[in-house]
């Protein structure tokens, strides 16, 4: 366990050490040879010291972490404020049987937070179990207080969870909700990860080439490739280039999928938390308290939708703001068959209705709006292409622009078909988007206000965008372009009572 810090810090200090060694060589005639080894020794000593001076302690009220020899630092967090305990183990950690524990307290200005590196795997697991269990016990009172505060919406999720707690307060049972099937890897090429990875690699590669000052044409294999390309007709080049690109992106995305999600497992613990384990090289072990869960997002980007796949993430409060990698919404299921995603969502919510329910369509006015917007964009492109041709651009530009029209029509129709909303059980369900279609399922209890927005054109069409504000996930979940006649009943069903004071029967001025 001593090894992680020295090895990692040596790695980070390599540039400085190389500098030291070179300086030792250059300065004296063999008298300063010791500079390099001394540098290594100092780095090792410092990291060993850091390990020796780091102590953590868990009292009934607090988690304390104390570090430093010369400048001592103590970080303490109230045990009942512990919101997440993530266990991460990089490949190096795993070889040594170690793990890193990150304790999240939901603090927004987290300098380095509570981070316990290099515990043994057993210690890490025990620590996590203890912290979460303690957090649970301490928070039970607050949870009660919350549900006592006259919430109009029936809270099925919290209710179940309370009864379970009373049934078996001590024991911790684990139920598996999802496990990665290796066949899911086939969905990887239909995500953007491969494309992004390829772009990043090409970008870094070209920059390295630029900075090294080597012209690509001088490198042997590339020279050979260029010669080959020049000998062939253009259509063959394009085909071959595309094929190579497709293979490259596919391999990258499959690799990325496997590295991130291998061994993915989602489980529910009977003391009220969800656990996610995943990772091929670096394993991550994430836990989310169910009382912080406010719903799920079922995302179906166009490509994934084409192969009947979807991904699932959670809407949770109290985690980091959306800047972090996991953001306010945590990944619950990597790209997987849509039927599996629905089952898992139903299991997480303990209610199949929100994911299965047929959504109410938003009607002809909303549909007209989708078409007007898509066709306006197409029109602008055609006019721009026309002007460009008048100025001497090649004529095919106009035809290319005209081809956009059918694409715009298809996009508009699909965008309209995606639009929909419902109140199912104790959840508000809303869906929108075509290229990135998402069904948001938000617990009504998590709704802390309504925003009703109408632009000039929406007012003319009798539509409004009804946004539920919440402290979780994206903070806002919108029902877009819903007819006014449907918006009010929807808002009243989701949060009964809130709007009652502001209703009128008189057909007065619309907003």
């Amino acid at each position: 366990m001593l090894l992680v810090h020295p090895v990692r810090e040596l790695g980070q200090a390599v540039p400085a050490l190389v500098g030291l060694v070179l300086a030792g060589r250059a300065m004296g005639e063999g008298q300063t040879w010791w500079l390099g080894p001394a540098g290594v020794a100092v780095v090792v000593a410092v990291s060993v010291l850091r390990w020796m001076t780091t102590r953590y302690r868990i009292t009934p009220e607090q988690v304390q972490l104390r570090t430093g020899l010369l400048r001592r630092k103590t970080i303490a967090a109230a045990a009942d404020r512990v919101r997440s305990v993530d266990v991460t183990a990089s490949a190096l950690h795993r070889v040594l049987g170690l793990a890193k524990v990150e304790i999240g307290t939901g603090s927004h200005h987290r300098g380095r937070g509570l981070e316990l590196d290099s515990l043994t795997e057993a210690q890490a697991a025990a620590l996590r179990a203890e912290l979460l269990h303690r957090g649970m016990a301490a928070s039970q009172d607050t949870a009660r207080a919350t549900s006592l505060r006259a919430e109009p919406c029936a809270v099925a999720v919290a209710g179940d969870h309370d009864t379970q707690l009373e049934d078996d307060p001590g024991s911790d049972q684990e139920t598996e909700l999802a496990r990665m099937d290796p066949r899911w890897v086939r969905f990887a090429p239909f995500t953007m990860s491969g494309v992004l990875g390829a772009a990043a690699i090409l970008g870094i590669g070209s920059r390295l080439l630029n900075q090294s000052g080597v012209s690509p044409g001088d490198v042997g294999p590339i020279r050979g490739g260029l010669d080959y390309v020049e000998r062939n007709p253009i259509w063959l080049d394009v085909l071959q280039g595309l094929a190579v690109l497709v293979v490259f992106v596919t391999v990258l995305s499959i690799g990325g999928y496997a590295v991130s999600y291998w061994g993915f497992r989602l489980t529910r613990h009977s003391h009220g938390s969800l656990h996610i384990t995943r990772g091929l090289l670096t394993t991550r072990d994430i836990s989310i308290e169910e009382r912080r869960l406010r719903g799920v997002e079922l995302a179906e980007p166009l490509l994934l939708r084409a192969v009947h796949a979807a991904r699932l993430s959670g809407i949770t409060t109290g985690l980091k703001s959306r800047s972090g990698a996991d953001g306010g919404s945590s990944m619950f299921l990597p790209p997987a068959p849509r039927s599996v995603a629905r089952q898992v969502a139903a299991a997480i919510l303990r209610d199949p209705a929100p994911v299965e329910v047929a959504l109410t369509a938003h009607g002809p006015a909303a549909r007209r709006r989708r078409f007007v917007r898509a066709l306006l964009v197409a029109l602008v492109l055609i006019v721009a292409a026309g002007l460009a041709v008048l100025r001497g651009a090649p004529q095919w530009l106009v035809w290319a622009a005209v081809v956009i029209v059918p694409a715009a029509v298809m996009l508009a129709e699909d965008r309209y078909r995606s639009l929909g909303h419902a109140v199912a059980g104790s959840f508000l369900v809303t869906r929108a988007g075509s290229l990135y279609r998402r069904r948001d399922v938000l617990q009504c209890e998590g709704i802390i206000g309504w925003n009703v927005r109408q632009t000039f054109f929406q007012r003319r069409a009798g539509l409004a965008t009804l946004t539920a504000t919440t402290a979780a996930g994206r903070q806002r979940y919108a029902v877009r372009d819903v007819p006014l006649g449907l918006a009010l009943p929807l808002a009243r069903r989701a949060v009964p009572g809130l709007l009652d004071d502001f209703l009128t029967l008189a057909p007065g001025r619309q907003l």
Partner: protein, 160 residues
């Protein structure tokens, strides 16, 4: 069944405030145009027509926008909820239950002080839901803040 307007209008001085607040942008735009058109190469029509058009647009905006806003901007506080309405071309109504209110702030910018106005911001635990009431009379704003603080201090929990 419809959502009615909130009961209270904002202070009539807000009209003047909104006009003055929108003025600098138009002055900058016009100054930039006059600066560019002072170069002799430009076509006569462009030199005259564009600034003239800008003046007409500015006048329309400065006359219509504040009055339209004054008709739209409204607010109301009941025993259970805060309700605001704002905007002109794009209008928005926001409703938040008092039990979920986290902070109540009042603020007076330099221009608002000139017109003896204040704005009140009511935030909830959601980053998406601050309710802002602009152009309130200063005494009204103070009374409103006092009332809201009094009501929300009774509610329990962390309001998420």
């Amino acid at each position: 069944m419809l959502l009615r307007d909130p009961v209270h209008l904002v202070s009539p001085r807000a009209v003047a405030y909104w006009t003055v607040r929108a003025l600098p942008l138009w002055i900058i735009v016009l100054a930039a145009e006059l600066f560019w058109s002072s170069s002799p190469r430009d076509h006569f029509a462009v030199r005259i027509v564009v600034p003239a058009l800008t003046v007409v647009l500015a006048a329309a905006h400065l006359i219509v926008m504040p009055r339209w806003r004054f008709r739209v901007h409204r607010w109301e506080v009941t025993s259970t909820a805060v309700y605001t309405q704002s905007g002109w071309l794009r209008q928005e109504r926001r409703i938040a239950p008092l039990s979920r209110v986290q902070t109540v702030d009042t603020e007076r910018g330099p221009l608002e002080q000139l017109f003896m106005l204040a704005n009140v911001t009511v935030t909830t635990a959601s980053a998406a839901g601050p309710l802002r009431i602009h152009g309130l009379d200063r005494t009204t704003a103070e009374a409103l803040v006092a009332e809201l603080t009094e009501v929300t201090s009774h509610s329990q929990g962390d309001a998420t």
